[in-house]
Structures are given as C-alpha cells and as structure tokens.
C-alpha cells in the first residue's frame, strides 16, 4: 500500500482553474494516473495552460485505490478511485456520463497538451458539425521532455477499415488518445453498447465503438505529445516508413505504397478504397480550419 507524498510542492504550481460560467465550453480531461506525481503535474500544467476565452477544463484523475496522487489543494480536479478493472470501467463510464462537458479527451499522466490545443478543437467542432471526433498529428515525448515526430500524415489518417485491420494485426500504429477529442454527444449515442475489454488499451474499445457510427478526422495540428507506446519498439522508431504497411495482399500493399508515398493519382485508389475522411487543415489567411479532400 503506497500513497505518493507531495514532497516538493514548489514544483507543482499549477494555475488555478476558475469556475465555469454560463456559455463556457467545458472540456472533460480524464487523466489516467500512472504512479508518478511529477508526470501528473506536468500533464495538469499543460491542461491549465490552455488559455482561451470561454474554455474551461473539467479534470478527473483516475487512480487505483492504493495509489493516490498528491494534488496541491488549490488545483481544482476531481479524484476518481477504482479498485480493479471492472470498477475502473464502470467509474469511467459513470464519470463521463455525469460530466457536463461538451468535448472529451483522455490521456495518461506524463502526456501533455500543446498550447492552443483546446482552442483549436473547440473551433473545429463549432465550425464543422459533421466532425464528431478528431485526432491530431502525433508526437512522442522523449525522456528529457522534448518532442519527437515520426512518419507522415498518411499514416495518421484513419477509417474503420484501417482500424479494424490494425487491431488484429498489431502493426504498431495506433490512434493517440491524448490527441483524440470527441463530442460528448457521440459518447452518449454509443455508451450503452460499449464493452471495455482491456484496461491498458480501453481507448481502443472506445475508438472501435465510435468508428461504427462516425468518421474520424485527422487535423494537421499538434494537440499533444504521447509517452511512447509499449507496442512500438526501438526498431520501429528507426524505420518509420516500414511499420504502417498493413495490407496482406501484394496489390493492397502496392496501393498503400502509392498512397503513403503520395504518388499523384495512383494514391487515390487506396484513399477511396478505405474510405478516408477529409483532412482538417488550417488556412492562415482566414485563421480558420477547413476540410480538405487531400
């Protein structure tokens, strides 16, 4: 039985959240506590640094009952304790159900949001009603805290078909939870049918449920940095061009090759076949996001 003590409170000076007012947009940020207090506070800092008028984070920290995070009393977060896997799933579901937030995201402690992430997500959801969940360009956080980026946008685009294949093929490619935001309304529509299987990858179950009714849009912006995923080994990172070819058949591989390598016209075979949704891009001229059939 171990309880983390906040032994160095000066490191944990997270800005205070103010109470939401009428008309504010609430973001549900569910943080999975992984046992390291400093990492948790880095994550919290990145949440409360999201400065945008009218946007308020609603932060929940999910932790095992025997592993309580030390939180500075001034930080307005809610702790949700769970006993075991089954308890976690029901607590998570109840918490999301009861949240008043319009938009939701779940991440692990240690993962951090980029500045402006919530603001951008809010703008995209407000402008594009057809976008019900979206993901950003993934980066990984190195041990020293800086961010590294790998691969291409092609490998970050998703459809139900790709996702289904990846789940079973274990290709190493995954949708980063910390960069993936969803409308609460979408959750409400699938929550009753949701069946969580694995606690470590419970987001994959969630994504699968979302995919059945909604297209996932990829935005060419950086929303967060992930901690490295256990499934990806060192060799994977050294060869970013090789780990996202998931097709079995040679013709499928060829089409995917054309797509990933951006071969004019030939790339469209794969894009259309797997029913990719448009990209979300930013127009610097009008300072707004638009959808592009790239």
């Amino acid at each position: 039985m171990k309880t983390e003590k906040n032994t160095n409170p000066q490191n944990f000076s997270v800005p205070q959240a103010t109470a939401p007012g009428d008309g504010d947009t609430l973001f549900f940020a569910g943080i999975m506590y992984t046992g390291n207090n400093q990492l948790l506070h880095n994550t919290l800092n990145s949440v409360f640094r999201q400065k945008a008028p009218g946007i308020k984070p609603e932060v929940y920290i999910f932790h095992a009952a025997q592993h309580v995070p030390a939180i500075d009393a001034v930080i307005k977060v809610r702790l949700v304790s769970f006993q075991n896997e089954g308890d976690f799933f029901s607590k998570y579901t109840d918490t999301v159900n009861q949240s008043a937030a319009q938009y939701c995201v779940t991440l692990r402690s240690g993962e951090e949001f980029f500045d402006g992430a919530f603001d951008s997500v809010e703008k995209i959801f407000s402008k594009h009603a057809q976008v019900n969940w979206l993901t950003g360009i993934q980066t990984f956080k190195a041990k020293e805290g800086f961010n590294i980026t790998l691969g291409t946008t092609a490998m970050r685009r998703w459809s139900y078909k790709i996702y289904e294949r990846n789940l079973y093929k274990n290709s190493g490619r995954y949708i980063p939870p910390a960069s993936t935001f969803w409308r609460k309304s979408v959750w409400s529509s699938i929550a009753s049918e949701l069946h969580f299987v694995s606690p470590s990858d419970f987001c994959e179950d969630l994504w699968l449920a979302f995919f059945k009714t909604q297209k996932l849009y990829t935005c060419k912006a950086y929303f967060s940095s992930s901690v490295s995923h256990e499934k990806l080994n060192a060799q994977t990172f050294k060869t970013p061009n090789s780990f996202y070819l998931v097709e079995d058949h040679w013709l499928g591989k060829l089409k995917e090759f054309f797509f990933i390598n951006n071969i004019p016209y030939l790339r469209l075979f794969y894009r259309n076949e797997i029913e990719l949704s448009p990209l979300i891009r930013f127009d610097y001229e009008t300072q707004s996001y638009y959808l592009s059939e790239y």
């Binding site: 190195a142 590294i148 950086y222 990172f237």
Partner: protein, 306 residues
C-alpha cells in the same frame, strides 16, 4: 548529462504582441546553462516593459537604437560566449524542452556542426501546425512543402541542393550551430542583406553539412505582419541574389555543378516517390546528409539514412 552553454539572441523592435510568449518558451525550459541575450532597438509600444519583467533572467539586455535587424543581431552575438548559438525572433517560439534536444544532439554527434529541427508553424493563437498554408490561389510556398510524406525529404539540404534553389526556406527558428562553425564562417551577420539569414547559411554550407533532426525545436508564427511578409518582394529578390552568388561560387569551384544539377532534377521524383533503388541517386548526387533520429528506447540520438 553535459549541458553545453547555449547562447540565444533575440532582437526586438515594437514587438509587444508576442514577445512574452517567445521569452517564456525559452526561459520555461529550465535549461541549466542558458545565455539569453535580448537586443531591443528602442521600442515604444511596451516591449521594453515586458522585457524588464524578465531582466533578472537575461544575461544581457541592450536597449538602444540600431541600424536594423542584422546590426542588432551582431551586437547580441558579439556578447555571446556559448558553445552553441542560435537566434529567435520575437514572433516565433521554441518547443517544450527543445534546448535539451539541441544539447543532446551536439553532445552525442560530434560531426554535426549545425542542425535544424523538424519544421513547424504556429498560427496567431499559438496552435502548432504541421504545415504552412497552401492555397492554390495564393501560393505562399511551393506545393511540395505540404506534400506530407515529402516533408522530411524536403527538409534535407546540402550546399548543392541549396545552390540549386530546390528549397523553400531553412527554418531559422529551428537552427542551432556550434561556435566553431560561426567563427569559421566569419563570426558576423552581413548587414547589407535583408535575407541575411540565407546569406549566413551559404557561409555555413561552405564549411559543414546541415543536418535535420526529427525533433520539434522551434516554429515560425504566421500572423501576416512579419518583416519578411511585408517586404516579401524585396526579400525574394535578395534571396535570389544570395543564391545566385552562392551558385556562381560553387560553379567556379567545380565543373561538375551543371551536370550534377541536371541529373539531380531528373532524378528528384524517384527520391520523393520512393522508387526502389533509383531513389538513392538524388541524395547521392547532392550529397544530402542523413537525418538525425531519436531512439525512444535508448534515449539517444543517432544518424539514419532512412
């Protein structure tokens, strides 16, 4: 880990809108051996008040009229004593802990004399974006720049490629170099150019290859009021002159330049589109350096031809 002294120079003139964000992007990193120098040209819009808030964390703060940005940079770099050097404009910003990445690269790769991070951009609100605006009707940049899988291939230079003009821009916000290279290249910015950054790169290229790392180092904020946007035509003309001069210098140095550039143009699509075997011709012709990659399992930098 050894933390080499990193000197960063910022020049400002009436830059109140973004300067605090930029300063914090450097200071909040907590890099233990930072030498931060700000040179203000006599701002009157509150910029100086903002800088004063952080004066106790600056190594040098100069506030006096100057003859332009290059002159101000020279004032700053004359005071710099770091082993690693770079500059950051007031609109732009560094990414989280990027100075630790720069230290790691220069520590572990002694052959690297200057390095650029993975290019990124910020919008006016500070969101970090993966591409520069591309609107077919208003071409700010070449379309290749946003061809996402070409991104890293595009951000790969050698003096040959630079001289051929087959580039958009080396992202200055993401570039850091060793003092030894700065000294070999003359140790100053040439004040007669508006495109003084490009001119400096040509001198760097004479002595060392530019490596690109898959690390987010810095980003360029696109808000429309940049000096390079306001004087876009003049900047472009000057850039062309700088590149032409550099090309002529290379041409005099070697008769192979013309043949090399013709072959390179012909084989570029093979490189961009990953044609097996043939894709190796273009980087070989232009002597493109390998990328710097980071291995998350060993927490170390290395170079990779991939």
């Amino acid at each position: 880990m050894h933390y080499p002294k990193i000197s960063i120079v910022t020049i400002s003139f009436n830059s109140a809108q973004y300067i605090e964000d930029m300063i914090l992007s450097i200071l909040d990193q907590g890099y233990p051996n930072l030498e931060y120098i700000i040179v203000d040209g006599g701002s009157t819009d509150g910029t100086v008040d903002i800088i004063e808030k952080y004066k106790h964390k600056l190594t040098v703060f100069i506030c006096e009229p100057d003859k332009g940005p290059a002159d101000a940079l020279n004032k700053g770099f004359k005071r710099a004593t770091g082993e690693i050097m770079g500059w950051l404009n007031t609109d732009d910003r560094l990414h989280t802990k990027s100075l630790f990445a720069i230290a790691g690269i220069f520590n572990s790769l002694p052959d690297v004399s200057w390095v650029m991070g993975f290019p990124t951009w910020f919008n006016a609100q500070g969101t970090c974006l993966n591409e520069i605006h591309y609107n077919p009707a208003k071409r700010y940049y070449l379309p290749q720049y946003i061809g996402d899988n070409l991104h890293l291939k595009f951000a790969r230079w050698s003096k040959w490629r630079f001289a051929m003009g087959d580039f958009s821009a080396i992202q200055q916000e993401s570039v850091f170099w060793r003092r030894s290279l700065w000294e070999k290249a003359g140790g100053h910015i040439k004040e007669e150019f508006l495109a003084f950054d490009l001119e400096l790169w040509t001198r760097f290229f004479e002595h060392a290859q530019l490596y690109t790392a898959q690390v987010l180092v810095g980003g360029f904020r696109v808000h429309g009021n940049q000096l390079s946007f306001n004087q876009q035509q003049r900047y472009k003309e000057e850039s062309r002159k700088v590149i032409d001069t550099f090309r002529n210098r290379l041409f005099r140095q070697t008769f192979g330049y013309t043949m090399r550039s013709i072959l390179a143009r012909a084989t570029k699509p093979f490189y961009y589109y990953e044609t097996p075997v043939l894709k190796k011709i273009y980087p070989a012709l232009l002597d493109l350096p390998p990328h710097i990659v980071y291995d998350l399992s060993t927490n170390s930098f290395s170079v990779s031809e991939k």
